[in-house]
């Protein structure tokens, strides 16, 4: 997934483009480039981070240009493969986010016609195609060229023949128009140009636009002119700083005592023993529900799995959790199903596609997200914000715990509405919720002990995580975090499943992290630990602080503060996050920007 930007106005384009690209860097950062028009296309592109590009930025004259940050999907990471790409006659510059599925055939035909290619990317094809279709009007040329393309794209195009204009087009990839005074912007998302203007015009799928510094024209997929109103964005893009922490991820793990509060504040009243959401959400939750489906990807999917335990225990309603990318291929749903989409960014393409499917089946859509104004919120019938502040580290940490807490609040609310849980029980849960910041702080206090244990893991090849009941999805998340940032192989298993296959993988050198809570799963899990130890590996137990038995069974113990069976998951997660962080740090991995990963995946 890449970030693209276009500018036409009165300011120095090279400065505006680099500034905007910096804000899009989270989308992809193998390489970046810009091209500014001043009599010709002045291209500057490099492999590496935007900071490096900025240092050596040439003094290009010109107030119109395009820019790009790249996350490689086709073709290796090289300077030639970086965008912008120029057409053969060097007049047209293109930046592209997406995948051109039929690019090899198109490339073949263009080469036969005599066009010369400089890279191996699918994107470059677009530049030559536009040149091939160009008569005297850039947007008409782009329209004709795109008709031949199969795949997904958001592109911005400039031509030295029409030097004031930037042309944008999108299909299943985001592109937004930023409206300024005597200047206009195109960007992959609003944060690219939020510093310069808060006015946007949303481009719909399949549409194309021709933008000058004073004029915005939009055309639909049949090339008919379209009128559209602008909207004003209310939020500020605040660049979080690491504030003395060595990594954003560590800072975000330590943000959790606060973020846990932000989910609760304004929604939970201890004195009144009440849980309240906004009107739309209250309506969604109060009408008869036969089933709940949770759709999400990655870490959010695991939050959904944790949510399933909570929802089924507190409401008695059957809950199905589906991977968003699989959801549209099967699944039963109807108007009495509540579909909960969980997506931190609100832009995850797979999740959006699943929600669109569900909406077409007449289901009610509830979205849990961290980004106000995102596509998911606009698709939903009601949404709940996790209010955790921007999460810069690519691996999700604070947004994961916030998502679980929102699901917990939903479970409690529905439980109350259905009279499945009494006021006293609700009160107990509310007290637990309010105590969470304290419990999280206690878990964070263990950081040094966890570092010692991380030392045990840093040189292994493989780590296994096991848990039962609500701890099973936690083991999946623990493994995922470790995998994501330390590049170790790690896998989570339901403890009861080990004997049905995975035992074969256990050896003396594959440590096992066992999540042990003092509830009805306790005895069985101790037995599982026994089985594991019999095969050689060391066992690291994450156990209740009051558990005195566990030392006899595990080789190492990390303690989490006692809590109700449902709420313990939060401090346990914090411990798993710290474990992954310390292992990755000891192994010298790039924690905030792990290789090959980008935040908010908008490619399918």
């Amino acid at each position: 997934m890449c970030g693209i930007i276009g500018y036409t106005g009165f300011r120095d384009a090279n400065k505006v483009l680099i500034d905007s690209l910096k804000r899009l860097e989270y989308r992809g950062y193998d390489s970046a480039g810009i091209s500014v028009i001043h009599k010709k296309q002045q291209v500057y592109k490099q492999v590496g981070e935007i900071k490096a590009l900025e240092k050596n930025l040439p003094d290009f004259k010109g107030t119109v240009g395009v820019g790009h940050t790249r996350w490689a999907t086709h073709g290796g990471v090289t300077k030639e493969n970086a965008h912008p790409h120029l057409s053969s006659n060097k007049k047209i510059a293109v930046v592209h986010n997406g995948i051109i599925e039929n690019f090899s055939k198109l490339r073949e035909n263009l080469i036969k016609k005599g066009y010369k290619f400089a890279s191996q990317t699918d994107s470059e094809v677009i530049a030559h195609l536009i040149e091939d279709n160009y008569k005297d009007n850039l947007e008409k040329a782009v329209y004709s060229a795109l008709k031949k393309v199969e795949g997904y794209y958001a592109i911005v195009v400039t031509s030295t023949d029409e030097p004031d204009k930037i042309v944008g087009a999108r299909k299943d990839s985001p592109l937004v128009i930023g409206v300024g005074d005597n200047e206009n912007f195109l960007g992959s998302d609003i944060t690219a140009f939020l510093k310069y203007t808060k006015r946007v015009v949303f481009l719909n799928d399949g549409e194309l636009c021709a933008v000058t510094n004073k004029d915005i024209k939009i055309f639909d997929e049949n090339n008919k002119a379209v009128k559209r109103d602008e909207q004003v964005i209310k939020w500020d893009y605040k660049d979080a700083e690491k504030s003395g922490f060595s990594h954003f991820m560590l800072k975000e793990i330590f943000d959790q005592p606060d973020t846990v509060h932000h989910v609760i504040r304004g929604r939970v009243s201890e004195i009144d023993r009440a849980i309240q959401f906004n009107e739309n959400v209250e309506n969604l939750l109060s009408n008869g529900l036969d089933s709940i489906h949770i759709v999400a990807c990655g870490t959010s999917y695991y939050a959904g799995l944790v949510g399933k335990y909570m929802l089924e225990k507190l409401t008695g309603i059957p809950v199905i959790v589906e991977l968003a990318s699989e959801y549209r291929y099967f699944g039963t749903r109807d108007e009495n199903s509540l579909i909960i989409g969980v997506t931190q960014s609100g832009e995850t393409l797979d999740t959006l596609a699943a929600l669109k499917e569900a909406k077409n089946s007449g289901c009610r859509i509830l979205v849990i997200t961290n980004v106000i104004g995102s596509t998911a919120t606009r698709l939903s019938d009601g949404y709940i914000l996790t209010q955790s502040g921007p999460e810069i580290g690519v691996a999700a940490t604070k947004t994961f715990t916030s998502q679980i807490l929102v699901l917990c609040l939903i479970a409690l609310k529905i439980g109350m509405l259905k009279n499945k849980i009494g006021a006293d029980e609700v009160y107990k849960y509310i007290l637990q919720l309010k105590e969470l910041p304290r419990k999280v702080r206690q878990a964070l206090d263990q950081s040094d002990e966890i570092l010692k244990i991380a030392n045990q893991l840093k040189n292994t090849q493989s780590v296994f995580f096991i848990g039962r009941g609500i701890n099973y999805p936690l083991s999946l998340e623990g493994a995922l975090k470790l995998k994501e940032i330390s590049y170790l192989h790690a896998e989570g298993f339901a403890a009861g499943e080990l004997k049905h296959g995975p035992f074969a993988l256990l050896t003396k050198i594959t440590p096992v992290v066992a999540i042990v809570t003092k509830d009805f799963t306790y005895e069985k899990l101790l037995a599982n630990i026994g089985e594991v130890k019999a095969r050689g590996p060391k066992v690291i137990a994450i156990a209740d602080e009051n558990d005195t038995e566990i030392e006899k069974h595990a080789d190492f113990v990390i303690r989490f503060p006692s809590n109700s069976d449902i709420m313990s998951c939060i401090p346990i997660i914090v411990i798993l996050q710290l474990l992954a962080y310390h292992v990755a740090n000891l192994r010298g991995c790039s924690i905030d920007k792990p290789r090959n990963l980008a935040k908010s995946v908008t490619v399918e």
Partner: protein
């Protein structure tokens, strides 16, 4: 002109409150002490601040990251060796005359302005004080510094040094000399400079406070609460009486029957009442809950706390995350404490309770008792002696 603010210290004498945050970040009227210092420095016209951090520096850096357009840079003092050593860390950022001030000294903006305007090469702020022996007595002659006597045995003189100086860039030579010899405090540097024949001009500061011991927090809260911004947010139910200067944060609910007499500051996301009484000069942090029929008077209650119903809290400090069940009483009165080998008499003091404690119901605490962090006290206990952190009282 730049200002160097020394904020690296732990504040050991303020334990248990400084076990998790540096001294300068202790909250007074819901703002960290350091924020008062930064504000005063900013108002006196300084546009660039260098903060020397050390102990638990992330807490400071996270709070001040983008502070009201002021340019703030941080330098780290890895080992807390002393004030002169701390200042030395900022050497590379100083190109001309500068001000150095300690992050835990609340001083008024006018005095800082006067210090800046003063034309002498060296100048310092001094303060009239009834007990100079606590700090070091300062003697002046014709407005210039004559002598500093540290820890005098008797009560002599009437001025003390505030530790706030305006110094030329050349001071770093002396600082380097002395620190390399193992003398790490600023007072010695000043004395050395005087020995070399330099004149140090003295300016009387109008108001100056510092925090050394936990009970100082209560006094400073009372003094500084008047500078808060008083407006009412959140939800205020019927039959609530609010008198005087009261600040209520957003998302806070004040339930019926509460009686609040200002100056009182209540943070955001709190739930107060019903029928709770809050009297001057009390500060309650964010996300705290005060249950019905409780009375809180002249106390500092920090974030995330729970005060059970029918509790009485006076002249006390309750740190973050502490959960107290119903019918809790602190007895406010006199107590004698041993500090630095001496006995001090403290008057009108309640309890000082650390972070994340859990108290059962009907707990009673004698005057002046300090309870550490993460302590667990069972119901019906009377606490007559200090309790160290991580202790269970059963």
């Amino acid at each position: 002109m730049k200002a160097v603010i020394l904020a690296a210290g732990e504040g050991k004498r303020l334990r248990p409150f400084t076990e998790t945050i540096p001294k300068v970040m202790l909250p007074v009227a819901n703002k960290p002490v350091l924020e008062y210092v930064v504000d005063a420095v900013k108002k006196s016209g300084i546009a660039e601040i260098i903060i020397v951090v050390g102990y638990k520096k992330e807490v400071i850096m996270e709070y001040f990251k983008e502070y009201k357009g002021l340019k703030i840079s941080y330098v780290t003092q890895d080992k807390q060796l002393g004030t002169a050593h701390a200042l030395l860390q900022a050497k590379s950022r100083i190109k001309e005359t500068f001000i150095v001030i300690s992050g835990d000294n609340i001083v008024d903006q006018k005095s800082i302005s006067q210090l800046i305007k003063d034309q002498s090469k060296y100048s310092m702020l001094i303060k009239e004080h009834p007990h100079p022996s606590k700090y070091g007595a300062v003697f002046i002659e014709k407005g210039k510094l004559k002598e500093i006597v540290e820890k005098p045995k008797e009560e002599i003189g009437k001025f003390i040094s505030t530790g706030i100086y305006k110094l030329p860039k050349s001071i770093f030579k002396t600082v380097e000399e002395l620190t390399s010899r193992g003398t790490n405090d600023l007072t010695s540097v000043i004395q050395e400079v005087m020995k070399n024949g330099e004149e140090i001009n003295t300016i009387k500061a109008e108001s100056w406070m510092d925090i050394v011991y936990p009970w100082d927090l209560i006094q400073i809260n009372e003094a500084m609460i008047h500078s808060s911004k008083f407006s009412v947010g959140g939800v205020v139910e019927k039959e609530v009486t609010i008198k005087g200067d009261v600040s209520i944060g957003k998302d806070t609910t004040i339930y019926s029957g509460c009686y609040i007499v200002g100056p009182v500051v209540i943070g955001e996301g709190c739930e107060i009442g019903p029928n709770a009484c809050i009297f001057p000069s009390t500060t309650i942090g964010n996300n705290s809950v005060v249950h019905p029929f409780s009375e809180i008077r002249n106390s500092v209650i920090m974030d995330d706390t729970h005060i059970g119903s029918n509790s009485f809290i006076k002249n006390s400090i309750i740190a973050r995350g502490t959960i107290i069940s119903n019918n809790f009483s602190c007895i406010s009165g006199d107590n004698t404490v041993e500090i630095d080998g001496e006995f001090k008499k403290l008057e009108n003091l309640g309890a000082m309770i650390g972070e994340d404690c859990t108290f059962g119901s009907h707990v009673v605490i004698d005057p002046g008792i300090i309870i550490g962090r993460k302590c667990n006290i069972e119901s019906m206990k009377k606490i007559t002696k200090n309790v160290t952190s991580n202790t269970k009282v059963m």
